[in-house]
Point group: D2
Chain length 247, copies 4
């Protein structure tokens, strides 16, 4: 059965890319392109799923309107804090059968890399993260790298893994990078790159490297389509695409 | 409580490395080093776990003797076929509470790389495997690479993933490598290397690379120790170290 | 002094990208955009350098016309054979002071990777090449990979390097890939990639890896601009961008 | 003609590895193994080349004694400063025909990686260095990484290359690593590794990666043998193995 899809923020770059991906996908039909001022309530009964790539100021109100309309929501807009998530979780609890997926990153390779790093982390003596991005990025390290490091640290703590060995005594200029919960994170800036991350996990005699390269925003589309196809089977609020992956 | 460990094939290279690793490990005690002609039955009551790094001709008899003695077995010796595994499985069913782990590869990074590749494979448009080994290796590709490719192919088939795109029309010298169940495998031979594998998984706009490097035989020890510590909790026959990893 | 640049094939994808790059570059001025039917002779005295990204059927005639007009030529169009190069070389000898650069690849990272591989090849026991491209490519391996392998083989032969070690006895499905002059070449096809190459050089205990990634056609522009700025200093025919790099 | 080789510090780890490598090499004969207290003057007329892997306190005196004895010297001992090098240079000027090679690193892959990075650096918009070592290392970053960064910076300055783009405004924990002459250097510490370095060079649309992996001290031997074979053809003091490579 065809899934009817609406796109909110359809005129933006991510929204337009999503519209094209939905139109090209088997089993999906693009039924509405909405932008600022368009009426979300009108989607009730005409769209099964709505994808939100709007702006931080608008996205929470959009999700509440979609819940009221009984339309499943897939959200890639950033800017969600714990309070906003809690409000959506409560609202969703009152509208049984409607699913909401809010994902900070739809790139499957990035989502899997983080999850695999967490799974593997307790089994290795050392884990470090190197992220590489274009030089127009104003913050270092990337949110994804911080999220990866914290996931690694939490998994190691839960498993009782010991602290990582590090005999560094002299590092006058800070070459060892940033420390997030005991996991070192390094940020590289290179003109021409987009978004890349390497996670190194080692034991005596062996090295496991998990690397993810995102070359352009089309890399988000397989993850968006996976969420669109899965959201009806996951009522209530889900945060992070890995909630739909059986890992 | 300390786990008492015996090593079979203690004079061989892997056996000697195992003895050293057991002696250095917290919570383990090396209680016996056995070689050809030594009496396995005498381990009953004196050893909790025996590690077998002997030879293909001896290993199955060793495991049956360990089951008779009520000693858990961790086996790294190669040469097991389906019939031999079936005989051990049946024997183990008659000795409840005794565990047997037979693993073709104890390198955690290699075991995890294979498992992660299987988990990720259905989510990507293309998957290929490049293995790199020392040039004294007589077979190509490596058993691990074939195992990886077949696991990837089976996971894709189970999920209904389509065939991978490949428009190659002209390849006069076979640069596209070997095809195992639709997954291409490439074997590189480089003097100075040991055992390495790269698995590439891609979608439009993104690439996930899982790479494992084994530099020397010490790389097997974390996996051997993990099996020694876990075998008592897994009665019956287990094949492959991933059976003890919650992935 | 500003260099006046004309672009032939200006309406094509590479031509349009070149026009934009010239307009954005310091010290260069775009003075003409030519396409099929436009008069090259008219460039005499008005353009210093012409960049040709046209089609194989037209490019040789364009270069002869540019030589007649006294305009330096930078050519990225493919399809040149030895006879055509010989005719241009002879014509250029009769028009002293005019330079012609014909380059099969303007991506600096690819040009440098090939050159570095040649320089290093005699110093290593083993060298192999793995190229990775999008799966719409109809030929395997890539021309760049063949060129790399042949350069490596020639450099080793000139230095008297021994054959590479390889004990492979069993390779039933061709995992060892293609053999070009004794150098193994492997072709990987991955949806979402563009043009990538890894060259592995190893000795006992060490591995040198040279990797080049081209993400899109903008990667050719630094090389095109380098050629535009250098062609006046290199009269006569030069083939391959490395002729302008002091390596 | 066979080259007669003496090894100073023959009982140390590097010295013993050198003795074995000389004995296994074509065209070389090991004629003396010297340790503390042995008489260097006695090598006059019996050895052509001496390899010094002793200790920082002894190496300079050894080299002066070798110059007096007319024996070519290949030195891998660390601890040389500019004054000591100046004294050797002056002494060597007075003993024509005798060569001295003092190299901080004999791993060919590391030497070539540094040289290639210098050659390529002016042609790219961005260059960064990531080194990876075992966690028992007390200083960060490695001397090789600092040397690489400074070579890159000097090459860019000489060519008039602009500063690298970097819009970082927020980096609260120092993820951007160390800055050496404008080149960022990152130090990763991983249990099980030995000595590894990645140099990233990028332009819009392309990335060149030069990676060197040293797995164990045998990686120094091809460079030591190259120096032993070349030192007679290079009278006077040479510093750095790249002086013998035509790059």
């Amino acid at each position: 059965m065809t899934i009817r899809v609406a796109v909110l923020g359809a005129a933006g770059r991510m929204g337009a890319t999503t519209c094209a991906a939905v139109e090209a996908a088997d089993g999906l039909e693009l039924v509405a392109r909405l932008d600022v001022g368009d009426d979300i309530a009108a989607l009730a009964g005409t769209a099964d799923v709505a994808v939100d790539f709007t702006v931080p100021d608008a996205t929470e109100a959009n999700v509440h309107a979609l819940l009221d309309a009984g339309v499943h929501a897939v959200v890639g807009t950033t800017g969600w804090d714990d309070d906003a998530l809690a409000r959506v979780r409560e609202h969703a609890a009152g509208t049984p059968g409607v699913g909401v997926m809010i994902a900070p990153n739809f790139a499957l390779s990035a989502v899997l890399a983080m999850r695999f790093a967490e799974l593997a982390a307790p089994l290795f003596a050392s884990v470090e993260v190197v992220e590489m991005h274009h030089p127009r990025k104003v913050d270092a390290p990337s949110g994804t790298a911080i999220h990866t490091a914290r996931g690694v640290a939490a998994a190691r703590a839960a498993a009782g893994a010991p602290a990582m060995p590090d005999a560094t005594e002299s590092d006058p200029r800070g070459a060892r990078g940033a420390d997030y919960d005991g996991v070192h994170v390094h940020a590289v800036r290179l003109d021409g790159l987009v978004a890349h991350e390497q996670i190194f996990l080692s034991n005596p005699g062996e090295l496991l490297t998990i690397r993810t390269d995102s070359f352009d925003r089309s890399s988000f589309m397989p993850g968006v389509l996976l969420a669109v196809r899965g959201v009806a089977r996951h009522p209530g609020l889900s945060v992070g695409l890995d909630a739909y992956l059986d890992l």
